[in-house]
């Protein structure tokens, strides 16, 4: 199937988004060709020529009804097709024992895993800067938060996007189907360092992930490779100054 410039999809629900996307491509493409074709045909056929007199008509009620009902029906169908995907992606939260906290700050993503005790908010939490590791074929829950301003966690190849808002925790999920290294830029203007704010997501096979977790998450309290970031604060002002 033609990819229509979309980047490769590697998440479970990405396929649902892409198929609605393609459907709208076809609906709008055909509509565009019909409408523009009619427009071009009319301005050629009915161009001013000597002796031509325009048709005197004020409209047609049957036509008005037809072109009100037809687009309405198409849009109703499109709405009903969109509801299940939206509901599955944003309104349900599949069970998973893997939860990662993602905090957007000017101008990095802080990725936090619970340490060996399996709980957040304890001293052994492991925080990485702009680096996330996840296993494939497993639901990953993430809890998003903005530190001082709004950011947006965007993973193009997962078809994932969610704003990270200061003052509220937003639970989301994704499930990756293919191992690899993926970019996760910030998609909401967050200040002068907005451009270039980006995390790398490493999607591992379950074995590789287990290995990575054993080396990086299960160790006793210590310094994770990327260096610990400051503990979460609710006071935006302390984080107001950017890194560079």
């Amino acid at each position: 199937m033609l990819n229509w410039w979309l980047p490769e999809n590697v998440s479970t629900y990405g396929q649902e988004i892409d198929s609605i996307f393609h459907l709208i491509y076809w609906i709008t493409g055909v509509t565009f060709i019909l409408v523009t074709g009619a427009l071009l045909a009319f301005i050629i056929i009915y161009r001013d020529r000597p002796g031509r007199r325009a048709t005197y008509t004020h409209g047609s009620t049957p036509l008005e009804i037809a072109w009100t009902v037809a687009p309405a029906l198409i849009l109703v169908v499109l709405t009903f097709l969109s509801v299940p995907a939206w509901s599955r992606i944003k309104m349900t939260l599949p069970e998973s024992d893997l939860l990662i906290h993602v905090t957007g700050k000017q101008f990095n993503w802080e990725i936090t895993y619970p340490g060996p005790d399996g709980r957040f908010g304890t001293a052994d939490d492991k925080t990485f800067l702009d680096e996330m590791h996840v296993p494939i074929n497993k639901v990953v829950r993430i809890q998003l938060r903005g530190r001082e301003v709004i950011h947006s966690f965007f993973v193009p190849q997962f078809r994932f996007k969610q704003d990270a808002v200061p003052g509220r925790d937003i639970m989301q999920w994704f499930e990756v189907t293919k191992a690899g290294k993926y970019e996760a830029p910030c998609a909401e203007l967050c200040g002068f360092g907005h451009s270039g704010m980006r995390a790398w997501i490493y999607a591992h096979t379950p074995e590789d992930y287990a290995k990575w977790a054993a080396e990086n998450l299960k160790t006793a309290a210590g310094t994770p490779p990327a260096g610990p970031a400051a503990a979460e604060t609710t006071d935006g002002k302390t984080e107001g100054k950017p890194k560079s």
Binding site: K161, F192, G196
Partner: protein, 584 residues
Amino acid sequence: MSAPTATASAHAHVEHHELGFVRTYIFSTDHKMIGRQFMFMGLFMMILGGLLALVVRWQLAWPETPVPGLGMILKDTGGILEPSTYNMAFTMHATIMIFFVIMPILAGGFGNYLIPLMIGARDMAFPFLNMLSFWVGALAGVLILAGFFVEGGHAAAGWTSYAPLSAVPQYTGVNWGQNLWCISLFVLGVGSMMGSINYITTIINMRAPGMTLFRMPLVIWSLFITAILLLLALPVLTSAVAMLLFDRTLGTSWFNPSGGGEPLLWQHLFWYFGHPEVYILILPAMGIASEILPVFSRKPVFGYHAMAFSMIGIAFLSWIVYGHHMFVSGMNPALGMSFMITTMIIAVPSAIKTFNWLGTLWGGRIQFTVPMLNALAFVSMFVIGGLSGIFMASTPVDIYIQDTYFIVAHIHYVVFGGSIFGAFAALYYWYPKIFGRMTNTLLGHLHFWPTFVFFNLTFFPMHIIGVGGQMRRIYNPMQYEFLQHQQHWNVFITYSALLLGLSQIPFVINFFWSLFAGPKAPMNPWNATTLEWTAPSPPPHLNWGATVPTVYRGPYEYSSPESTTTDFLPQTQPPRTRAGVSRH
């Protein structure tokens, strides 16, 4: 040419006392002069807004290289944009284009100029308030320009100014720039309120004898509905920017969670204004197209009532779709589902309008004048802008394309392809009436064709890079590995944008050359039926002679079998048989 009966043929000078220079050209209470003042303000600001867009485009195509000509202003960097300057450039491009170009030209300029002339009134209901509304708007313009000269630069949080980024000076490094942005839009909101009250009162109370609501030209319907939206929507923004300014300067915490505020409150307030705002920008252009297509098809507009009611439907629905800007904002996703349904519904009246424009062309005798070409461009570009909106309306698809160049393409197809082509169509169409001179047709074609071509070459590829994932408002796409393969599109778009900018030169030449050297315009150069063409070109103070025109029929009586001598029946032409024959 059929003489407008019993109206302009009357000769008397109605209270013809000479006004001095200041009262005629500066502090004028004449709706026509105020309309022209708004137009000139909008056209002047358009130069600035356009140059800012080209600066943004240069950076995206050739990141971090000196922008030609900018070395004089940005001495420290030798003309290279820094990220903060870049953020300022796109923020102010959008702010200026929306608030100081399209709104002044369409709602301010043509609203003022056309409403009294097309409903048969001598002036607005409140001429002094009308003058005040322009000068308050001009003060807002001065304040927004002042922001470029303050320390820390102008606002750089996007034209949407999402809090808390915009609410705390340290987050952007911008202090007085953002404050002036708030103050300017506050002042503009006050001026807009004066204007909208005036428009609504005038249309309700001051229509000429016989000008029933359903004999009003559709452009007046569009301006009437726009005025209602302005009256109800803009005060929400006015309040929101005041709250934002208080957060920034007085230590309140409406939007900042560190003081107990709520960031999403800003978005709800902003888009509660912001979505009706989109229709404030596009409805007048829809009215203009509905006016020009019948004239140059020599045919009545197809489905007059459907056209009027679809605009009313759009206006009503525009209040309950705003949440589609916030699908991934953290708003309850169940609410997102509701907003998706209303958003899909609002596409229906837009579709009705498009089909009726096609119906107007069908069976016509189409004359390819410059205003007609621009109106046809409006219709075809609005089709693309409308269809691309359906992608965003579908919530799952929006997850992916929210905040990408796809939305940038969409908004430019609507506000440039729609509103700006509508404004050009209106300027070419009413220029003879407004300035009493005809424009040059050759220059008009030299302006229209390159603008149409380069507009599409600039904005269509933005759909492609948006689908490829390029985020809006990023400083340098080359910082992202997944975007590097499509950088050639950014270069292509920038070349097209530069040529699009150059394509405006024939317009500027035409505008000023015709002002002084264009052939004198007759009273009704396009053989049109509506009332403004029964007044002299340009119309004198108070528009008509001794009596205002009386209206006997609807606004689009072209090629009517009732007339054997001409192919149009002016609204002032009494029916040949007994009274009460006309259709509307």
